[in-house]
């Protein structure tokens, strides 16, 4: 069932299939999904489709997605979140026509380092032809074929401040203690060995004498 009305709003798990087209009339763009699936809500605003609780058959969990296509025909074949065991989202699609696509996966809001984003075109990393806005919208321009946009959730929320200091840093503390213990043990071994060596070079009366080498020449005791 092709969706051609730009202001269409779908409610509660509306199903779609590969023949369902989502059009962006002003931009002369259209996109669809390679697999069937469903969403709880779809809105069309500012020339972009916003899907709530989007689920594509064969892909991972439900997620939100904002997508738009300009002067091109796009088939989205994969959209997954938490692909690497932490917030890391990926969308893959096929583009026909040198147009422009905008993708917002609801991540990377507030800008952040571009190191968090990677774009591949036909399985090769591309540095040009895409940009990220402050609200986490990736705009891909002029790429054709298979395009993949990945977001890595490298964030700076280190540690759990509720834990006591020694629990938060137990490994560092243990390693510091181990280094200290190793140094102390080696010093003890060293001193013991030195004393033993000195002892071997003393006479019964405790008088230090010159040790005699195999050649018969006296040599100085090693200190």
């Amino acid at each position: 069932m092709p969706l051609i009305c730009p202001n269409a709003i779908a409610q509660n798990t509306t199903a779609f299939d590969p023949t369902t087209k989502f059009t962006v009339p002003i931009y002369n763009g259209v996109f669809s999904f390679a697999e069937g699936g469903n969403y709880s809500k779809a809105t069309f605003e500012d020339n972009a489709w916003f899907f709530m609780n989007l689920y594509i058959n064969g892909s991972k969990p439900l997620a939100n997605l904002e997508f738009s296509a300009k002067n091109c025909n796009v088939t989205i074949y994969n959209y997954e979140t938490s692909i690497l065991g932490f917030p890391s989202d990926r969308i893959s699609y096929n583009v026909r026509g040198e147009g422009e696509q905008t993708v917002n996966m609801g991540v990377g809001v507030g800008g952040g380092a571009s190191v968090n984003w990677v774009v591949f075109s036909n399985r090769t990393f591309v540095s040009n032809g895409w940009s990220v806005s402050h609200n986490g919208t990736v705009t891909v321009t002029g790429l054709t074929g298979n395009v993949t946009v990945i977001y890595f959730g490298f964030t700076s929320d280190l540690g759990n401040s509720n834990l006591p200091f020694y629990e938060q840093h137990s490994v560092a503390i243990a390693v510091t203690v181990a280094v200290g213990a190793t140094v102390a043990a080696t010093v003890v071994v060293k001193v013991a060995a030195k004393r033993q060596a000195e002892k071997g070079e003393l006479t019964n009366n405790g008088r230090q004498v010159l040790a005699v080498s195999e050649s018969g020449r006296p040599r100085r005791p090693r200190l």
Partner: protein, 405 residues
């Protein structure tokens, strides 16, 4: 092969094989000329299996998330021993590369670089979550390496390092073809040895420059972004993450060997995911391959060539061969001057052309270039002239093999 639960039954079998193997080799080669070399080869092979236990325990052919090609790190053995405070594996001063599957320890060079950039203060690494800062993690790495180096010194290089084994195999190949090895002049060899510090300085400086926004709040070099120059793919994706790993010969060797034994899919390695700057896949770059080929050629000609310039060897030596650690180092090569006739065999057989064993007058002759491989002990024909001592106790000593023959 597909991923299955690791077969932990192979662990006791492995330990039994290693113990029996060492005892057998020790007894069978007791009176042989090459007794130490045989034992060392066995220990090296056993160490490779220990460091890459995944080769025999699994995971095999693990799934990845195409097109990025990152193997699931959470499956790596030993990865979570210290929890989120230090989740990338135990640091041991051997080139047990971070990148292949199934490793049990981690290369400290990778850790030091990665904890500066890109994970200085990031809570998430490659499939792991950090609860500690980069500085704290670097402190842990250095602490672990220091403990290992104080106890065993560069014994790790001579007896345990997988890349050392690779070079020793190359030496055996060369010997089989009856070609003589080449030697550097003393001056060149010293310069190579000093170049290790230059390599360390380069990768540390690069890492700090790219992490400077995180560390200092501004970029140290204007026009750079985290990971490289602004506007380039390096700048966008952080191409220069772990810069030494981009040129390290161990990474392609590990990854390609794992592909060969079926522990990794070759398609993960061959897949190009970065652009023209040193065309690379998720695991190796063309620079890696070029360096591996060059090092292989050089190691065929010069014994243990890479060990002479290895930055990890330098870091290990720092904690075992330089003051104040030299004074407390547990494992040492010692020389009894009164038994030495200055025949020079020790100097000639040393794979890294260390000279103190010949030049120094008795006592501790361990130096930063000495890998404690005990080749000199094996070759020395004078009973007890050279010995390997651990905590003052002799564990190996030279034998009068001339008279016995």
């Amino acid at each position: 092969m597909t991923w299955q639960n690791p077969s932990y039954i192979v662990l006791p079998i492995y330990v039994a094989i290693v113990v029996i193997g060492i005892l057998l080799i020790y007894n069978l080669t007791k009176d042989k000329t090459k007794n130490i070399s045989s034992l060392r080869l066995f220990v090296q092979v056993a160490a490779v299996f220990a460091f890459f236990m995944g080769l025999i325990l699994g995971p095999f052919d693990v799934p990845i998330y195409a097109p990025l090609g990152i193997a699931p790190r959470s499956l790596l053995l030993g990865g979570n021993l210290f929890g989120n405070q230090f989740p990338d594996g135990i640091s041991l001063p051997v080139l047990a590369c971070y990148y292949p599957n199934g490793r049990t320890v981690t290369c400290p060079i990778w850790q030091i670089q990665a904890y500066i950039f890109p994970f200085w203060n990031y809570a998430r690494g490659y499939q792991v979550i950090y609860s500690t800062s980069g500085l704290e993690k670097i402190g842990i790495v250095i602490g672990l390496v220091a403990i290992a180096a104080i106890i065993l010194g560069r014994f790790f290089c001579g007896w345990l390092c997988p890349f050392g084994l690779y070079q020793d195999v190359l030496t055996r190949v060369r010997k089989a073809t009856r070609l003589k090895h080449l030697s550097f002049s003393e001056k060149t060899n010293k310069a190579l040895s000093q170049s290790r510090w230059v390599i360390i300085a380069i990768f540390l400086i690069l890492s700090v420059v790219f992490a400077s926004y995180e560390i200092f709040g501004h970029q140290l070099i204007p026009g750079t972004t985290p990971g490289g120059p602004e506007g380039t793919e390096a700048g966008n994706v952080g191409f220069l993450n772990e810069p030494f790993c981009l040129v390290c010969p161990m990474r392609p060797l590990c990854v390609l060997v794992e592909c060969a034994v079926g522990s990794m899919k070759y398609s993960y390695v061959s897949q190009i995911i970065y652009g023209p700057l040193g065309i690379r896949g998720g695991y190796i770059s063309s620079i890696n391959i070029a360096v591996l080929i060059a090092i292989t050629a050089l190691a065929l000609a010069y014994r243990r060539f890479f060990c002479r310039i290895c930055p990890l060897g330098a870091i290990t030596a720092l904690f075992s061969s330089y003051t104040p650690f030299k004074q407390i180092a547990v494992t040492k090569l010692e020389k009894d001057e009164k038994k030495c006739t200055k025949c020079g065999v020790c100097k000639r057989v040393c794979p890294t052309q260390a000279t103190q064993v010949y030049e120094k007058k008795g006592g501790d002759v361990t130096e930063s270039r000495c890998m404690l491989c005990a080749r000199c002990i094996e070759a020395c024909p004078y009973e007890g002239a050279l010995s390997l001592k651990v905590a003052g106790q002799t564990v190996m000593k030279s034998r009068n093999w001339l008279e016995k023959k």
